[in-house]
Symmetry: C2
Subunit: 406 residues, 2 copies
Amino acid sequence: MTQIRTRLERGRGALGPALSLVHTGRAATRALLTAELGVTRATAGAVAAELEALGLIRVDTRPLGPSGAQGRPSHRLDVAPGGPVALAAQVHADGFRAALVGLGGEIVATAPGSMTVPADPAHVLGAVVEAGAALLRASGRVCIGAGLAVPSAVAEPEGTALNPLHLAWPAGAPVRQVFAEQILRVGILGPDGEPVPSFVGNDVNVAALAEHRHGAGRDAEHLLVVASGHRGVGGALVLGGRLHTGSAGLALEVGHLTVVPDGRPCHCGSRGCLDVEADPLAFLEAAGRTPGPEGSLLQQSRDLLREEYADPAVRAAAHVLIDRLGRGLAGLVNVLNPDRILLGGLHLHLFEADPEALRAVVADHSLWGRSGSVPLLACALDHNSLVGAAELAWQPVLDDPLAVLG
Amino acid sequence: MTQIRTRLERGRGALGPALSLVHTGRAATRALLTAELGVTRATAGAVAAELEALGLIRVDTRPLGPSGAQGRPSHRLDVAPGGPVALAAQVHADGFRAALVGLGGEIVATAPGSMTVPADPAHVLGAVVEAGAALLRASGRVCIGAGLAVPSAVAEPEGTALNPLHLAWPAGAPVRQVFAEQILRVGILGPDGEPVPSFVGNDVNVAALAEHRHGAGRDAEHLLVVASGHRGVGGALVLGGRLHTGSAGLALEVGHLTVVPDGRPCHCGSRGCLDVEADPLAFLEAAGRTPGPEGSLLQQSRDLLREEYADPAVRAAAHVLIDRLGRGLAGLVNVLNPDRILLGGLHLHLFEADPEALRAVVADHSLWGRSGSVPLLACALDHNSLVGAAELAWQPVLDDPLAVLG
DNA sequence: CTCACTTTGTGCCGACGCTAAACAAAATAG
DNA sequence: CTATTTTGTTTAGCGTCGGCACAAAGTGAG
């Protein structure tokens, strides 16, 4: 007398897409889920129930007050409070940062740290992972994976950092392997009791991912992000919701577009590259300032733009940099034809100093810019590299929740 | 008494992928189909039967002679002889060409034509479509769609030719609409009795598609194609088997990368662009030759390279162009990180004149070129733009054979 | 307040498209 | 000739989803 032999579960195939919709805030109700997934209400209901059973979302059946709309009101779909989190980590020139990031890109907890001695990767990443472990213990949450953002090109599939310029790490350091080893050593365990999977990405790349899902890049199909943090210029492209990192992870090395004919020499062997003509150091030099000892080059540049923009020298330097940046962006527009461009770091501040000037340079130097120009926007998320690192860890869950949490 | 109520057809979802495998020559037997699709033998058999019933493929059960392998020999899967064809058309500086292209990229019939007067689009495309209609009548084949390759950027989703430079057409000509109107006027009908669907693409873009499926680009995941036919330089990118044309069809406008600091002025407003520094006219000028009246600039350049390469001036000019081309390719490698690069037109001949020289320039100027360089190859298909135009028309059938032929 | 209407949520059934497994067929190897 | 290997086919069964009927929960008109 078999009682319940196999209850046929509906909506297995749509679990991942449904979770992605909740994650990016595009499905706040079952009715929206039905419309976005293109399935029947029955399937959408089963999907929501399954995600709730997995502890990922919460279905709030309470009435939401007068909505004004006709018909039976929808139940709200929220991220499950106290649900699983990803461990996010970031290393940069001045230190590191660990955080817990829940579904929806919400930063649950964060812990900064400094690197007094820019030591070897195992040392730094060990400290980051330990900070993350402390956050996890304090929160009592389940961890589904760990992501790390590094200021360097990351070669695929090896996961090595090719140019960790201002980290004093050796070129070609096996970052993914070291990170995984530290996860193993510290013992960050997932819901299955095994060490969580770990992921490493370039900081601008993962920041672009975060902006696409939770920030100023939402709903863009071809999102280009260009940013300059400390030294050099980084780029990223999100195509159809996925990072485009090229065949070996080395795409969007946008720092070596020529923007000044016969300009200053670049370490790549060429001259006048964006990398050396449009980063914070180039800006400070163009403004006739010598970099001071306190604050990063980015902070000094931002402060200069904010506080001394009335100074003609600063204003002129900003427009010189805007011109160089605009030429670089125009080259990228000609090759990639994005439907939106986000700017980060110094470029965000340059853009906000004179948005129309940058738009004009891009339009003038891109082939079809005058007919229909590309929307330029500023990055909108705090800590987008951290959130993006977490996106890497969340990705397997978004692709197939059952495989991870089933 | 219902006799055959609904015979449950197996393998509907895999029909398109299976047809693509036969189309690209990667599934010559049902056993290979089973392996490539990742389904059971039962499903693969049903898929093959369905495709045969649709008249697209032929299952050849005859023994193939001693194969040397153990076990029961596979039946061969061939393109169905006499099966449906796509109408392919190409317009270029000197004239036009129409062809019928079957599954597998095989050119079944072709008809050249000249444009004595570079007339308006409707005139030219009317003549092309009429030539295609004649081919269709003579062949007695079924037509599943029509594709057109034009030497101009094609804006999406409007389907307008933005810069039909050497066609004497107005910029912004509604090529897709005019082509569809001519298909309608001449009455090219599909299997359903309606006028066939029509498609328009840039010639280098569709050539890249053809090379990816039937030529030197097979199995590349990130394929970059750069070519120069008459004037200017065109590019294309095939990502995961699909053309990447950007958000508005305007990506891969590679002609405006700077390759000569303060070089000759370009119509884009900048200087030293690939477009004016690495096309056939630039090569003839670099070699000290004045373009003659007979033969296209490309033909004159090719003949010069083939017949007078011993001339030091020609040799030197070739290396000047190779240097400029290599710098441009290196810039693209930094941004796109392809796993293969194909060269067409003049660039093919320059590459074949001195392959190592071009490889060295690309490696020297790309950021990670010295560690692992990108394979450079020559385009391998005759008439790759024609075959590529047909690929546009075949695409709906490859995506869902039943929807088109069911 | 009641009734009509609109929209959302759920249970049941059947269809579709696949896998699994057993069997049949066609070759090679010894 | 028999054993083995690989391929092709048939049958049964199962998981997932759409369609449909019905229930539930609101708005709006009178």
